[in-house]
């Protein structure tokens, strides 16, 4: 941990982190773990994905985040394949997670339960 002592420090920290996040060839999975997500089993999915990525030798990282608001479809996860737009899947159980790994993460095929992006954001 480094103390941020100026605005320049802050911006440097930002650049460093961004570079790390957008590291090439790395699958990035966000498991939405707010109260709604956790209540419907997001923790289990988080653990499952963490273990399975390693088991199946996939270069990826699983991160827990807050919820996106898709309460009707929790647990939800967001998967970003390198160089592609993130894709959100809803109602993810272990079976679905397995399918997502095999079909989407490995081969880029969508699976049922994909939630289309229906918002604009300032990010």
């Amino acid at each position: 941990m480094k103390k941020i002592k100026s605005l320049a420090d802050l911006r440097k920290s930002k650049a460093d982190t961004l570079a790390r996040i957008h590291a090439k060839e790395k699958i990035r999975i966000r498991v939405h773990m707010g109260t709604s997500g956790l209540a419907s089993g997001a923790k289990e999915i988080f653990d499952f994905l963490t273990v399975e990525l390693e088991k199946r030798s996939i270069n990826g990282i699983v991160v827990g985040t807050g919820d996106m608001g898709y309460c009707f479809a929790e647990p939800t996860i967001e998967v970003t394949r390198p160089g592609e737009d993130p894709v959100v899947f809803g109602n993810v159980d272990k079976l679905k997670a397995d399918e997502i790994i095999e079909k989407f993460i490995k081969n880029g095929y969508y699976v049922e339960g994909l939630l289309p992006v229906n918002y604009q954001t300032i990010n």
Binding site: T17, T35, L115
Partner: protein, 597 residues
């Protein structure tokens, strides 16, 4: 990784499904097989696109071309033209109703952009327990700029010019609030974040705190700099353990990184934040009650003025803002007042987060620009009413709000329009009701909550609401008389007019708005003693239609209280004075002879 695959997304939302999207899906599969493309192109059912009025929807990936109102018969064209020949099927593309232009691709597709995430910008995106991710998504950049480039008055001017209004319910201009706190000179001042989200079914603040706690911390520090406060307090419900835990982590990390505490970013400005817990009393969302609760006193409101900006926490000038309000601050600083005020309506700027609940398909959190219509929220973003039922009303503003009806479907939602419609913005709960909901019961339900949550300090709220509730209960039991409606009206008006705080002043709103919008339903309860929605148990009667009854005796045998009599092979009858309305006979009857009337 391999090149992105050609894929077809078929909307599997409830509304599209009811418009034959299943057949459409099957046809697409068959058509691909017929063209021997089944191994190259996959078809996937997706979640709701939020385009229910344009459904069924098909999106071709990876080029993100959207086809709307697709019939099962259109599949051939999509495969043959688009997939094989690479030509878009124009007649199935979306025609912008205003410009008449054809919008082929998702990125320009306005109906798919109904939601706008400002407050929720980082929710679900960043790891809330990792401050570096937050920083990577611009957290504390606004604070840095404020501290290095602006004077307090400049910040206040930006906030004022942005037109931001308090998201906690009242809609008081935030910039003005800051300005008042700024102008009240004192050796000590406080910034308070109101995270005492109490509306039933509302969880906007919780999601922000769970998903992006730094947005709030940063904004509080900006506010502290602007009004001259060195200390911030977050008043949060103890019932939000996850939000509390993430806030604690965030505060700790921010301190470790030097983004809270002494001499922030080397600017000499110091600001720190503490958490205070609420015990879950709804009334503690009222700012004076909240402050009393933080001081260790009974959580009850006091008369304003003095306002907290004058005399708040420990008698010092205190600026209280809601979580969602704070979450708007950094984007306003970074993108400017003009940008923010370009979103929304004339007097309500920016976006609003709503918690959609009730009889709606896509239950959840949405963030939409002010001025969106109820129709867009319910039928597009919300995916329409569950089970294809008819929309009846939407309650906004939580238990203190009122209901919006069919005639309000196309009214732009903003602070002032909601007030004019007899409801209010509140903190952003939106509960959708369908034709099966009895509005008298709905009013009673909300009163139940306010009766429970009244602090008991002032007589109209403490006793009046109880009396309102009792009378509503009486009416739903079929014991009301027509004169009761005038009493309901009078009591409601007086409670609104005389209660001490916002809770009491708004608690009769559900009664008044249902009484104004659905008076005939009330009248049915008190005159013919019927509940048109068929929800009030005491007003239902089980009845056997003689034409349908074959006298099989099945109903009589299953009746637990022997209320059904009749000879074999002859019409049976139900004795209403014995019947307990359990519904067993209806379930048993194979001839649809038993009805509720």
């Amino acid at each position: 990784m391999a090149k992105q695959k050609k894929q077809l997304l078929v909307c599997g939302g409830k509304s599209c499904s009811s418009h034959n999207s299943e057949v459409l899906y099957d046809n697409l599969c068959l058509e691909l097989e017929a063209n021997a493309l089944e191994n190259e192109v996959s078809v996937v059912r997706s979640g709701c696109f939020g385009l229910c009025h344009l459904g069924p929807v098909v999106m071709v990936m990876p080029e993100k071309v959207v086809y709307v109102k697709v019939n099962p018969d259109d599949t051939r064209d999509i495969i043959a033209e688009h997939l094989i020949k690479g030509r878009k099927v124009e007649r199935l593309l979306y025609h912008d109703p205003v410009s008449g232009k054809i919008i082929p691709e998702e990125k320009d597709f306005a109906p798919l952009k109904k939601q706008m995430r400002i407050v929720l910008r980082n929710c679900g995106i960043i790891d809330p327990e990792n401050i570096e991710e937050a920083i990577a998504h611009d957290a504390y950049e606004a604070l840095g700029r404020v501290l290095t480039e602006m004077k307090p008055a400049d910040v206040i001017r930006i906030i004022r010019d942005s037109g931001l209004r308090g998201r906690g319910g009242g809609g008081f201009p935030t910039g003005l609030k800051w300005e008042i706190a700024y102008n009240n000179k004192s050796d000590e001042k406080y910034v308070v974040c109101n995270a005492d989200e109490g509306d039933p079914g509302a969880f906007m603040d919780r999601s922000v705190l769970e998903g992006d706690p730094h947005a709030v911390l940063e904004a509080m520090a900006i506010c502290g700099y602007s009004i001259g406060a060195g200390k911030g307090l977050i008043y949060i419900r103890a019932e939000y353990p996850l939000a509390v835990a993430r806030l604690k982590t965030a505060i700790r990390q921010a301190r470790d990184y030097g983004l809270l505490g002494d001499d922030i970013m080397g600017t000499g400005f110091s600001f720190d934040i503490e958490i205070r817990y609420g015990a879950g009393a709804f009334v503690c969302g009222e700012e004076t009650a909240l402050i009393h609760s933080m001081e260790g006193l009974r959580g009850e409101p006091t008369v304003k003025p003095p306002f907290p900006a004058e005399s708040g926490f420990r008698g010092k000038p205190t600026n209280v803002n809601n979580v969602e309000t704070f979450a708007c601050i950094s984007p306003i600083i970074l993108k400017g007042a003009k940008w923010f005020s370009s979103i929304g309506t004339e007097k309500s700027k920016g976006t609003k987060v709503f918690a959609l609940a009730g009889k709606i398909n896509n239950v959840g959190l949405i963030e939409v620009p002010m001025g969106i219509t109820l129709r867009e929220v319910i039928y597009e973003i919300g995916g329409g009413i569950r089970n294809g039922k008819k929309f009846k009303a939407a309650q906004t503003g939580g238990p203190s709000g009122g209901c919006l009806t069919e005639k309000h479907l196309d009214t732009p939602i903003d602070f002032d329009n909601l007030l004019a419609a007899g409801s209010m913005m509140g903190s952003g709960g939106m509960i959708v009701m369908d034709e099966d909901d009895c509005m008298v019961s709905v009013a009673r339900f909300f009163l139940d909550f306010t009766v429970e949550e009244s602090c008991g300090k002032c007589s109209p709220c403490r006793i009046g609401n109880k009396r309102l509730h009792e009378l509503l209960d009486h009416i739903t039991k079929g014991k009301g008389v027509p004169a009761d409606l005038d009493r309901l009206m009078n009591m409601s008006m007086v409670i609104k007019d005389t209660s001490l705080c916002g809770l009491g002043q708004s608690s009769p709103n559900p009664v008044l708005s249902t009484l104004n919008n659905f008076r005939e339903e009330y009248e049915a309860h008190v005159t013919v003693k019927k509940c048109p929605a068929g929800q009030c148990r005491d007003l239902m009667e089980y009845f056997i239609i003689s034409e349908n009854c074959v006298g099989c005796t099945a109903c009589a045998r299953v009746c637990p209280v022997n209320a059904i009599t009749g000879e074999r092979k002859e019409t049976h009858t139900i004795n209403p004075s014995i019947c307990i309305k359990c519904g067993a006979c209806i379930e048993k009857c194979k001839f649809d002879a038993v009805i509720i009337r």
